[in-house]
């Protein structure tokens, strides 16, 4: 290998290439072409014009405002929360692991919450074990509480997905669900819960779910499930 280096330097000396010669790399814009380097300016900009390299405070503003001081996470982490795997071919830190964690703590906490809630009416389940009513698990309501539809809508309503770094299936005219926005937004909410969980621990993450997520998600889920039941009845 050393031999190579010596040879290369000799060649340089013989041909007198000026040392200040600047290389001109062509940066490609538009659809991917094999072998061409894409222009980072285009790669790191979403279809709705948000730039990844912009001021990080600006990009993560919606997330940080929502989290408030009590559940504050670092800006770098918040940026990771709003970055999806599809963005720039996964070259920036993205939220897959965060959302894997977030969905697990959310599922666990909501399961505990629904089985432990005492009945608000006279109807009590005698099959409950140690006052924990397990018959509610697996029911549409308890399942959809942590479902993608509820959380996607939740993100939209709270404007959490206003700035999100991801790559849509299509930029033209697809709706909230079909464009993939619902799925990616839901994953972002999971990731946000995951980030709180990693930063502050399980106990605080559970408080976070109780305070900031559950009340509104419950209302959304109720609408979703009731509408679905109604639709099922109409179909039969």
């Amino acid at each position: 290998m050393n031999n190579f280096r010596v040879m290369a330097s000799r060649v340089t000396r013989v041909t007198h290439i000026p040392s200040q010669a600047s290389r001109n790399i062509y940066l490609h814009k538009g659809p991917r072409l094999s072998g061409l380097k894409k222009d980072p300016l285009e790669v790191f900009t979403t279809s709705d014009g948000h730039k990844y390299d912009n001021d990080v405070h600006q990009n993560v503003k919606y997330i940080q405002d929502f989290l408030s001081d009590k559940f504050h996470i670092g800006n770098e982490l918040a940026l990771q929360v709003i970055t999806h795997k599809s963005f720039a071919n996964g070259i920036k830190p993205y939220n897959e692991k965060l959302s894997a964690m977030g969905s697990k703590i959310l599922n666990l906490h909501l399961a505990k919450l629904v089985i432990e809630q005492p009945s608000k009416s006279s109807s009590v389940n005698e099959l409950a074990i140690n006052n924990k009513n397990l018959d509610v698990l697996g029911q549409p309501m308890s399942r959809e509480l942590a479902g993608r539809l509820s959380l996607g809508v939740f993100a939209k309503l709270n404007k959490l997905n206003s700035v999100m770094f991801w790559n849509s299936y299509s930029t033209q005219g697809l709706n909230f669900e079909a464009s993939g926005e619902m799925k990616v937004s839901a994953q972002m909410v999971y990731a946000m819960i995951g980030a709180v969980h990693f930063t502050h621990g399980k106990k605080v993450a559970e408080e976070f779910i109780n305070e900031k997520i559950f009340p509104e998600v419950e209302t959304i889920t109720r609408d979703v499930v009731e509408a679905d039941v109604k639709q099922a009845q109409e179909a039969t």
Binding site: K97, S121, I129, V136, N175, A235
Partner: protein, 364 residues
């Protein structure tokens, strides 16, 4: 499909219109359980109205296999025998409450603690390996092995056989019940396996591997026992139990990796990690180049930092081994704290973030 579309949200206060294209399936209830509730969000009022009851505690206490299992697992005294018996019952209609809810609860608890453990201890595992690791800790086959090791037995005798052989009625309450009387009486020929619909669905045509009902039942029993532990003894005890029985098992992570294009993957990884200097693979030592048993040692460098090295009997082998070793040492990294111990998990008391959070694998 379209009729179950998600335009159900139309006209809701958030008011963005949704045209059905791809549809999200809202989960539906299992009608066979005849679940009733007063109000959809009154979770305490949900009730399955098929006629079932819980086994009386006094009856459960007289079942020798149940008592033995309770003691073998060293379950706390507060863990009721009737719940343990329910955890072993998968039959829906024969009058005794089944383990559906316990199983769901146990699965949720397991998923959380297993994921937490892997995500904190091995933050850089690529997602496919992470999933394989989750599966090897809490997949059906592993839980089946665990259930077997716990000494759970299957109830294989039909009602008639029980009557004829004067079998004590208490025995069945401590056994795993998932076979109907019809299944139990079915004549089976050795070497021939007949798959039912549920098993056929899990059949992998390439490997001929499927999840049998028995394995599934064992796994469900193990999950239900964990769920039952939560209902009686709370989460701290459950966490300890999962630690002892599930997370203590050795994970052969390094055997789970398979690289198709390691060099490309490493180059891409260096790009993701924003290394300023280029990646170089250099020959560090060699012996016997002209002999039939040459040995080469290659090293992977970024600037002056060595990422890994590998030994091989050809230049290419040494290079590939060096690259694979550097990738493995990156992916299998496990964070330690200042005292040199493994970092705390978020569910531990006095947790603070000491490790790192995985920022995703690279696409190649």
């Amino acid at each position: 499909m379209l009729s179950r579309s998600f335009n159900i949200l139309r006209g809701k206060p958030w008011g963005f219109s949704l045209v059905p294209v791809r549809t999200y399936q809202v989960s539906r209830n299992d009608e066979s359980l005849k679940t009733e509730y007063d109000d959809i969000t009154n979770y305490g009022s949900y009730k399955n109205t098929i006629f079932t009851h819980r086994l009386p505690e006094s009856t459960a206490q007289q079942s020798p296999p149940l008592v033995a299992l309770h003691f073998r697992l060293n379950l706390p005294k507060t863990y009721q025998f009737s719940t343990l018996s329910q955890a072993l019952n998968m039959i829906k209609y024969e009058g005794l409450a089944n383990n559906y809810g316990l199983n769901t609860l146990g699965k949720t608890l397991l998923s959380y603690y297993v994921s937490e453990y892997l995500l904190v201890r091995y933050p850089r595992l690529p997602m496919p390996i992470h999933n394989a690791a989750v599966d090897s800790l809490m997949g059906v086959e592993s839980l089946y092995e665990l259930g077997k090791a716990w000494g759970i037995q299957v109830d294989t005798t039909s009602k008639l056989d029980k009557k004829l052989s004067l079998e004590s009625e208490f025995l069945q309450y401590g056994r795993l019940r998932f076979l109907s009387d019809q299944d139990k009486n079915q004549f089976t020929e050795e070497g021939i396996i007949e798959l039912n619909l549920q098993e056929a669905r899990t059949l992998n045509p390439n490997t001929n591997h499927f999840i049998s009902r028995e394995h599934d039942a064992y796994a469900s029993a193990v999950r239900s026992i964990i769920g039952g532990l939560y209902t009686h003894c709370g989460e701290t005890v459950t966490k300890k139990f999962i630690d002892d029985h599930i997370l203590s098992r050795k994970l052969l992570l390094e055997n789970m990796f398979q690289f198709s294009q390691p060099t490309r993957e490493l180059a891409r990884l260096c790009e993701k990690l924003n290394f300023k200097e280029p990646l170089q693979i250099r020959l560090m030592a060699e012996t016997g180049r002209l002999s039939s048993h040459a040995i080469y040692v290659a090293g992977v460098f970024v600037g002056t930092e060595k990422l890994g090295e590998g030994v091989g009997s050809s230049l290419n082998e040494a290079k590939t081994r060096a690259v694979v070793n550097s990738l493995m040492s990156y992916y299998l990294y496990t964070p330690i704290n200042e005292e040199g111990n493994p970092v705390k998990l978020p569910s531990d008391t006095d947790y603070k973030l000491e490790g790192i959070i995985g920022d995703g694998d690279v696409a190649i």
